[in-house]
């Protein structure tokens, strides 16, 4: 009974939180004079009620699963990695740079994905080393590295990888390295398989290998883990590498699998934000690699349904964003509360020790 309850409780909590969020969103719309019923009907019909809408939701979920993994793996090991955004830019630009290579299709895709993952890992290396050997807090270093990445990416997009005929974007990814569309006439590419497989592998790694166990142990109680012989340096480096690879892949699947342009726009307008959205998605998915998948699909569905809320229910864009924000916040609340409790506990323990 208690075993079943432990598994079910987070799911029930999330459902309750979602219901509260939807209710609050409806209240907001009603208070500003919009009818919430047709708005929600449009939202859910388009995101989950048709195969086309579901494909859109899954396409939106693809990069989010990967960036949420970055945060979740970190959080499981007791690290607060905010750097998925910057790692994602490097992954996306690595994928674009790889379009100069001449390789047969299939192999080209694989090589580009690997290079993008490597780009993400490389970008995460400095914060990882700083954390492992100098104790520089990862929140500070990854936020700073996000900005470094932002400006480096701006420079690369405008000067190095720029399309000579169309300066508003980079060169498009070579046809041979694009991810094939799973359903014609939608945005859904093979990238979703990359994301889901990686999430499953991360789950197996964390819960069914010794190293994964050590990693979670380090997150649950760093002192006990070190006492038991788990190397904190190795844990940090491993977590950052895994997170960097996932975020790098997120950038790659977005430029290699999302029609029609297959490039990075100047201003990074087609890849910016996925890294930060991933944090929220990870919270909704209770920082569990498998929980992240439905959380991403739900979040992606909210985005896909947002256009129908504008089109059919006439709810303005800003209102749609506000309602989305309330729903997401409510869904993230259970995990936020849990993380806050853990933080409070360690803080108190540290204070009483001092």
């Amino acid at each position: 009974m208690s075993w079943a309850w432990r598994g079910l409780r987070p799911i029930l909590e999330s459902i309750l939180a979602g219901a509260i969020g939807l209710g609050a969103g409806a209240l907001i719309m009603w208070a500003w004079g919009y009818n919430p019923w047709p708005a929600y009907a449009a939202l859910f019909r388009e995101s989950f009620g048709s195969s086309y809408g579901l494909a859109g939701a899954l396409a939106n979920a693809t990069p989010l699963i990967l960036t949420a993994l970055t945060f979740a793996v970190g959080a499981r090991a007791g690290l607060f990695i905010i750097g998925a955004e910057g790692m994602l830019y490097m992954g996306a630009l690595s994928a674009v740079a790889l379009s100069f290579a001449r390789l047969p299709s299939g192999l080209h895709t694989l090589v580009a994905l690997l290079c993008a993952a490597a780009g993400g890992v490389l970008w995460s290396l400095v914060p990882a080393l700083l954390r492992a050997y100098r104790g520089v807090h990862e929140v500070i270093s990854t936020i700073m590295f996000n900005w470094l990445s932002h400006f480096l990416a701006f420079y690369l997009v405008a000067n190095v990888l720029v399309d000579p005929v169309r300066a508003e974007k980079t060169l498009s990814v070579a046809r041979t390295s694009r991810l094939p569309l799973l359903i014609r006439g939608t945005d859904l590419s093979l990238g979703i398989a990359v994301a889901v497989v990686l999430a499953a592998l991360v789950y197996l790694f964390l819960w069914h290998t010794v190293t994964g166990y050590e990693l979670r142990a380090a997150g649950a109680n760093p002192h006990a883990a070190r006492y038991a012989g788990v190397s904190p340096q190795r844990t940090v480096l491993l977590v950052f590498a895994l997170g960097g690879a996932a975020a790098g892949l997120a950038g790659a699947v977005e430029v290699m699998g999302r029609p029609p342009t297959f490039a990075v726009y100047s201003g990074l307008t087609n890849i910016a934000g996925f890294g930060f959205d991933g944090i929220g998605v990870a919270m909704i998915g209770r920082i569990h690699p498998l929980g992240i998948i439905p959380a991403s699909v739900f979040y992606g569905g909210l985005q896909a349904g947002a256009r129908l809320m504008q089109m059919e229910a006439g709810v303005p864009f800003e209102m749609v964003r506000a309602v989305q924000g309330v729903i997401v916040l409510a869904l993230a609340l259970p995990e936020l509360t849990r993380m806050f409790k853990v933080f409070l506990r360690t803080w108190r323990a540290r204070r009483s020790a001092a």
Partner: protein, 385 residues
């Protein structure tokens, strides 16, 4: 009882708004509130909807990954008589979606999408730019400034129209000055591509540099960067303890004359995105819509130099957008009239003359489309001091 039902039915039919058509307006990530390109698209669509009793649905894009699904979703609903994409950034996505829905009518502003069901609306920016160029050139010569300036955005082909026309206009204005006064003036052009349509600080920095070197006016060819350019002009005037220019800004896209209290923007090169949207809706409404390229120039009021009625029109636009209030109206109009009256009448007459010559086809303004053509125009009108 039957009669009650009938009366009820009629009442319901009367109460239901019945629209003659529906249009979806799809915006890029820039979105509303730019007081320029996107707001102009909204303005024209709103006016057409009022005129023809159409319904408008506005769809904004959160990221540029939304362009394709936004257009496709609008087409899938099948309830729009016309889908207008505002901005060239949407061109790739429209080019993908248009063939999937051959019976859906589309319009796109500022780009050519070669599909049979797409009306591509482009502008003869070089014609309007020639007019403001002539004005700037004559102002520099008249007031003894060594330079005229222009701050441009990302170096994309459509901006070559602006630069080419501006160069031609300055040259024409300087010749006109020599003809009227019998004196030659050495005036050069300061020009810079900032590489951005969003970084307002870069616009300000670029304009400051040009103003310090003695530019009489800085032409804004970078959309929102105009806010930074106007700040630079205001700061320069404040340093000289003056309120009205010179130096001036030259506005773009919308009529921006009302900004900066009405006496800092000498004129605007209006690119009437609103006229484009209005025309597209009108064509569908009247059944004359067909795919192809519709080029809007001086002739069909698609571009032009700002005049008094435009000022009144766009003060309303600014009030509606919340940028100014009703209380500012009279002051802005008075300042604007004083600013324009301070400029010698022959200059305005010369601008009118250039306009009528372009309209009559006596003068053809160069319209560079590629980098090579642009380089040729730069070589022809180097405008270096």
């Amino acid at each position: 009882m039957k009669r009650v039902g009938l009366v009820f039915l009629v009442a319901v039919l009367v109460a239901l708004p019945v629209f003659a058509g529906r249009v979806a307006l799809i915006l890029d990530v820039g979105g509303r509130g730019d007081l320029s390109f996107n707001d102009m698209g909204f303005k024209g669509t709103e006016e057409a909807c009022a005129a023809f009793n159409w319904e408008m649905v506005e769809i904004q894009s959160a990221t540029s990954a939304d362009y394709l699904p936004n257009i496709r979703n609008a087409a899938r609903t099948g309830k729009f008589d016309l889908i207008i994409c505002v901005g060239f950034l949407l061109a790739d996505a429209l080019n993908t979606v248009a063939p999937e829905f051959p019976h859906q009518k589309f319009g796109i502003i500022d780009a050519v999408v070669p599909q049979p069901n797409v009306l591509s609306i482009v502008f003869e920016e070089q014609e309007g730019s020639a007019l403001v160029g002539a004005l700037a050139g004559m102002l520099a010569a008249e007031y003894g400034y060594p330079y005229v300036g222009v701050v441009l955005g990302i170096e994309i082909p459509v901006l070559y129209h602006f630069e080419g026309g501006y160069r031609f206009g300055i040259d024409w204005g300087l010749k006109k000055y020599a003809e009227v006064t019998g004196k030659a003036a050495a005036v050069g052009l300061l020009w810079v591509y900032t590489g951005t349509f969003s970084d307002i600080a870069k616009g300000k920095a670029a304009a400051e540099a040009q103003l310090e070197q003695g530019a009489v006016a800085v032409y804004n060819v970078a959309g929102p960067l105009g806010i930074g350019i106007l700040e630079a002009v205001s700061a320069k005037l404040a340093k000289e303890n003056r309120e009205a220019g010179p130096p001036f800004m030259i506005g773009v896209d919308a009529n921006q004359d009302w900004m900066g209290d009405g006496n800092k923007v000498v004129a605007s090169m209006m690119k009437r995105v609103d006229v484009g949207c209005y025309t597209a809706i009108q064509m569908v409404h009247e059944g004359t819509f067909q795919g192809g390229v519709l080029s809007l120039g001086l002739e069909n009021k698609g571009v032009g130099i700002s005049r008094y009625p435009d000022l009144l029109d766009f003060i309303d636009f600014g009030i509606k957008a919340g940028a100014i209030t009703e209380a500012d109206r009279a002051r802005i109009i008075a300042n604007w009239e004083a600013m324009r009256a301070a400029i010698p009448a022959w200059i305005w007459e010369a601008v009118d003359e250039l306009e009528s010559k372009i309209l009559a086809g006596e003068i053809v303004v160069p319209k560079p489309e590629t980098r090579e053509e642009m380089l040729a125009v730069r070589a022809q009108y180097p405008l270096s001091r």
